[in-house]
């Protein structure tokens, strides 16, 4: 296998593969910074994928589809928010319930939407935009600088989110809520309201990550389209040590190994495909074992907040 020949395609797969994971992981970053461990990302991405596909198909407007997907993600995540913030139920269990409910709702909606007309099963796809000059760079130009606008926006979010958490009072409030909500409460921060805002942002971004799959990757929706990316997003957050830049790096690494897996499948056809398919997931496990540490995360993450508790 000539590595230089396959490298541009691997890099393109890396960039495309990283975007949905990056968006979902950034959403989870807001959620966990506010002390909420939301493992329902898989379900949120599924609902975003379907709603984005359906609204874009009906309206003919891909951005309207994206907006509708984000709204749907917020609505579904409000269920999570109510259960975990107001009712103080177990966050992991509630997240799993979202993972069961949301994809089922998405599939039900899809069956209603498509009906028996196959023409409804294929939607529109966002065009790629080449950045002049940069897209002509050898090896990396066409792969990294010829993406959809949504992909560029996702990458742009990284420095914005990083700046937000470091230099904005609201960002500091988020972080304090996730570290010690009782102390934050005594300082006048409305902890419950912060957690709900975090859920809104998490729902919107995770659903946007799902919508990317049906609006930018392939213009179809199918049951199981998320393919475990929601859980990978959780892992990238841990591997990225709860920082936006770290999450970007982890997402790109996973995307790179996923692209490498496909390149190896394409070139070594006689070899068992399953060995190559394991590569990105083995990387995830190794990364978590050696670099993942729950101690690096918000101290109060995953713990229910009882306002009256002292």
């Amino acid at each position: 296998m000539d590595f230089l020949t396959v490298l541009p395609t691997i890099l393109k797969a890396m960039a495309m593969g990283a975007v949905p994971i990056l968006l979902a992981s950034l959403g989870e970053l807001f959620s966990e910074r506010a002390g909420l461990v939301n493992i329902g990302l898989e379900g949120l991405m599924a609902i975003g994928a379907f709603v984005g596909f359906a609204v874009a198909k009906m309206s003919g407007n891909l951005w309207l589809g994206l907006a509708a997907a984000m709204a749907a993600g917020v609505i579904v995540n409000m269920l999570y928010a109510f259960c975990t913030v107001t009712l103080c139920s177990d966050q992991v269990v509630t997240g799993m319930a979202i993972n069961i409910l949301a994809p089922a709702v998405a599939l039900f909606g899809y069956n209603l939407f498509v009906g028996s007309d196959p023409a409804n099963a294929t939607g529109a796809q966002m065009p790629s935009i080449a950045i002049p000059g940069l897209s002509e760079l050898p090896f990396v130009g066409g792969a990294l600088f010829n993406q959809t606008l949504l992909a560029y926006l996702a990458f742009l979010l990284v420095p914005l989110v990083s700046y937000f958490f470091r230099h904005f009072r609201a960002g500091l409030s988020f972080r304090s809520v996730g570290e010690n909500p009782h102390a934050a409460e005594t300082l006048g921060i409305d902890v419950v309201r912060m957690k709900y805002v975090a859920c809104v942002i998490c729902g919107a971004l995770a659903a946007a990550g799902g919508a990317f799959l049906t609006l930018c990757y392939t213009p179809i929706y199918i049951d199981g389209i998320v393919m475990g990316r929601g859980f990978i997003a959780l892992a990238t957050l841990i591997f990225g040590r709860w920082s936006a830049v770290g999450v970007l790096g982890a997402s790109l690494l996973f995307g790179f190994f996923d692209g490498l897996n496909v390149a190896l499948q394409a070139q070594f056809q006689a070899a068992p495909v399953m060995f190559f398919k394991m590569i990105p997931y083995l990387f995830t496990i190794v990364a978590l074992v050696f670099f993942g540490s729950r101690r690096a995360g918000p101290r109060a993450s995953g713990q229910p907040y009882f306002r009256e508790q002292r």
């Binding site: 069956n111 498509v114 392939t218 179809i220 499948q265 394409a266 006689a270």
Partner: protein, 372 residues
Amino acid sequence: MSKKTSTSTPVLLNRRQALALGLGGVGTLLLSACGGGGSTGTDGAPADEGSGTTGYRVAMIMSGTITDGGWDQGHYESLQRALAAHPSWELLEPKENTADADAAIAAQSYVDQDVDLIIGNGNQFASDWAEVVAEAAATHPGVHFLITNTDPASEMSDYETLDNVETVLPDFKQTGSLAGVVAGLMTKTGSIGFIGGMRLPSTLTKYASYLAAAQKVNPDVQGQYNFEAGFTDASLGTKLTEQWIASNNVDVMWGDASAVDNGARQALESAGADDHFAIAQPIDIMGDDQPTVITSTVTDWMIGQAMDEIEAGSFGGGKAITGNMSNGGVSLGAFSDKIPADIQSQIEEYASQIEADAFLTDDEVAAIQATL
């Protein structure tokens, strides 16, 4: 400290009470929904009470949807064609998205309704339905089962009885040969690709025939393949095809992997729809919304023949109905304008030879299959 309760204090729910109330409400809704039947429920409304005196009823159970653009849509369209030719038959609502764990229950629900013909889309149902078939033979002798893409000898050897079962097996050599002839004549780079969802004997036969036929018309053709892409990850189809285009100059693709084929077509379109082509399978999807598709290999699942046999009382015995070019089970779809007229004529000439089994020998196919 004693608790004081004011008589004027409104009754508020605590967390447990709120959770219980919510769960109870959800449970009530679910029970009422189940009782009313789902969107693609197992209960169809029978035209008559029991199996009709003059009418027959047919049901189809599938793991995907009728609009998946591939496997199950092909089955559903075959069923629609059969129904059009058999007006005495009524279709119950198809059972979509049936998981393996639910396959037996789904079939049993139709057995209980004395549905005349229950169709299972694919050989995964062969292993799931063994007990249902055995019990139905004893208690509901008027119920018949048709399982597609299944070899009774190898995949139903544990069945207690095959009296009420038949299968359908398309001629995969003909399917692959037709695609191979088109690919061999249309490729400019001499490099063609194939994506299969699972490493099944049928998949290997299709690819071996595909490559052998392509090399028959163009000895310089090389083939790229992947037999384990699954059926749902369209992005994998995109990435695989992009790799082959970049490193192997693949310019014609054929697939047997449903949604993954859709992803492959996206990659071909990005590379240039005027010189990168796709051959669709198993339904004819050639049209303006598919700019890379130049033709399709179409499979008809011979449901009409099964209906004829049921009406005549000759259905059963574990017979495998073969779908081929002679009986319409295998065919080529419409040609795109991108196939020049002279090449279309060549394809039709080769298709005649394929139908007469005079184009490829079994040894030629086996020679390639042995290398896979």
